[in-house]
């Protein structure tokens, strides 16, 4: 169906243009790059120091958290700012679908976070002398986890405000609890039953599980379920994003 194909190719073209624009404006900046790269090491020091656990076992959790934060931090800032400077109107008046806007905004965060994930892993492997069992699973995990959480960030920015603080505080209301119910800091096995039943609804749980699998093969759900859960979360977040951005056009 050429009409359908034409529509999809236009959407992808527009999403890619938006992603490149966002990368150029918001991501490829020394301060952002440095702080994003320092983040996992600060987290590492915070959690590794004074614990008996081998440093290497912390890596999957740290990676999951790093991806969560670096993927979901920029769009909730840039979109309210673009509303204020009225550049967001440009996207609304251009012949592109809301789908392309949501995908484009999420794509830049996803690419950025994946790159941070790779850089963090390389440094961690050198410093801690650890090893990766399954590189393909790791890279797939980076891509899906990053896209999942960058879409989540974009989703929160659908809240129609020009005030960055409002979006960030809403986002943190969800993002911070995720850390504690996803088995990253508290292993799922040592959580109470109710905690475990919440954990299955957190995409971070599967992201973490997939990282664990990639590093040393230990996994709770298995890579297939992890990947499926992350894909499902991406689809749900994208759909919700499209719905909310459609509605926020007043």
């Amino acid at each position: 169906m050429p009409g359908w194909f034409e529509g999809v190719s236009r959407d992808i073209g527009a999403a890619w243009a938006i992603a490149r624009k966002d990368m150029k404006i918001y991501y490829i900046k020394p301060s952002i790059l440095v702080s994003s790269l320092l983040f996992p090491f600060v987290m590492f020091l915070a959690f590794a120091v004074g614990r008996e656990a081998a440093a290497g076992t912390l890596i999957p959790g740290l990676l999951a958290v790093t991806l969560l934060f670096s993927a979901s931090s920029i769009e909730p800032v840039s979109i309210p700012i673009e509303r204020r400077t009225k550049t967001f109107d440009r996207l609304l008046s251009a012949p592109i679908s809301i789908r392309a806007i949501v995908l484009g905004a999420s794509l830049s965060g996803a690419l950025f976070a994946s790159a941070i994930g790779v850089a963090t892993t390389v440094i961690a492997l050198i410093v801690l002398n650890a090893g990766v069992m399954n590189v393909a699973a790791l890279l797939l995990g980076f891509a899906l986890t990053s896209l999942c959480f960058s879409t989540m960030g974009t989703l929160f920015a659908a809240y129609r405000t020009e005030n960055v603080g409002e979006v960030m505080s809403l986002l943190n209301l969800v993002r911070l609890p995720l850390l504690f119910i996803s088995g990253v800091f508290i292993p799922l096995a040592s959580m109470p039953g109710w905690g475990q039943s919440i954990a299955v609804f957190s995409p971070l749980t599967y992201a973490h599980d997939l990282m664990l699998f990639a590093f040393d093969g230990t996994t709770l759900f298995g890579p297939v379920i992890d990947v499926a859960a992350l894909v499902l979360a991406i689809v749900i977040f994208q759909a919700a994003g499209i719905f909310l951005y459609q509605r926020s056009r007043e």
Binding site: A14, I18, D89, L91, S93, A94, P95, R249
Partner: protein
């Protein structure tokens, strides 16, 4: 087919109805002005026509494409220059143009050719690789206009394109717009600047509080308001009570003091001139200068929007219904 056709277009923000079921049509290649005071609903109308905001009720068609249903086809045809110069400050003028071209799904070569031409037309070529955030207000405005033209639109929407600019930038933008009009681009522009509407527009709609008070060619609008012809007169000396005395002259509708001059509004200038002659002799005053003028679009505008004319400060019921 009309370039823009608007039927019962309405926009409601909560209890506030910003645009109240307006109807109009803009012909292909026409330059159509939307003139109205602050808060009249000009920007809201443009935002609905360009798909930036949802329409509460009514319809808007761009070259026959319904903006609400056939959104992308309608948007592909248009260029938009919003009220605020919304450029990406962090990007260069060049990158701003390239990005905009990509949103219109144009080929790389075409975008680059258009970008070069536009930068040249708008005098931005020399500084096209600096971040646009450092541009002056006029340069930002010109870049915004260039971005609105990158897809060679058939219909161009301009929301107050020249407001707050110096003579040179204003001139440049006006020339570009007139040039586009010659190339048969349909232009829909809003403005506060009555002279701009008068000079550039084939037809003008006067909008006030969300309703259209009149639509016509600028000259025809003026003709409708014969009573707004005026005589401008200045005297060698001004004495107290002069204004009131002038108001009592027959056929004079209103008198307004403008600096050292008085403006007498009348439908019958010759009659008023002759009574002025008698008046000055009686009062033993000498006129220094006398000019008669037809109604200016400004006066028509003020009359139609129900704002006061002259020092009486009265608010007149508009004659808009007849137009």
């Amino acid at each position: 087919m009309d370039a823009i056709e608007v039927i019962g277009l309405t926009k409601r923000f909560g209890d506030n109805v910003a645009v109240k079921g307006i109807d109009f049509a803009v012909k292909m290649g026409e330059t159509f002005g939307f003139l109205g005071p602050n808060g009249a609903g000009k920007t809201t109308t443009i935002r609905m026509l360009t798909g930036m905001t949802k329409i509460t009720s009514g319809r808007a068609l761009i070259h026959g494409h319904d903006i609400a249903r056939d959104t992308l086809a309608a948007k592909r045809l248009m260029g938009v220059v919003p009220e605020t110069s919304n450029i990406y400050d962090e990007l260069s003028a060049w990158d701003n143009l390239i990005f905009t071209g990509r949103l219109y799904h144009l080929k790389k070569a075409e975008i680059e050719r258009n970008a070069r031409d536009l930068l040249d037309t708008f005098g931005l070529y020399e500084r096209c690789h600096e971040p646009a955030g450092g541009f002056s207000k006029g340069m930002k405005r010109r870049l915004t206009l260039a971005m609105g033209l990158v897809n060679n639109p058939g219909v161009l929407f301009l929301d107050e394109p020249t407001s707050g600019l110096d003579v040179q930038s204003r001139r440049l933008i006006r020339d570009v717009v007139q040039d586009l009009a010659r190339k048969n681009v349909t232009i829909f522009l809003t403005t506060h600047d009555i002279e701009e509407a008068n000079v550039s527009c084939d037809r003008v709609a006067i909008i006030n509080r969300g309703t259209i008070a009149a639509i016509d060619a600028p000259e025809k609008l003026k003709q409708t308001f014969e009573s707004l012809q005026s005589i401008e007169i200045s005297f060698d000396a001004v004495r107290p009570g002069l204004l009131e005395a002038l108001r009592t002259l027959p056929q004079v509708n209103d008198v307004r003091k403008e600096g050292d001059k008085f403006r007498l509004y009348t439908a019958d200038p010759p009659e008023v001139l002759s009574s002025l002659c008698t008046f000055t002799q009686e009062q033993n005053m000498r006129p220094i200068s006398v000019t008669t003028r037809g109604p200016s679009l400004e006066e028509v505008f003020i009359r139609l929007t129900g704002l006061s004319v002259g020092t009486k400060g009265e608010v007149r019921e508009t004659d808009a219904g007849m137009v």
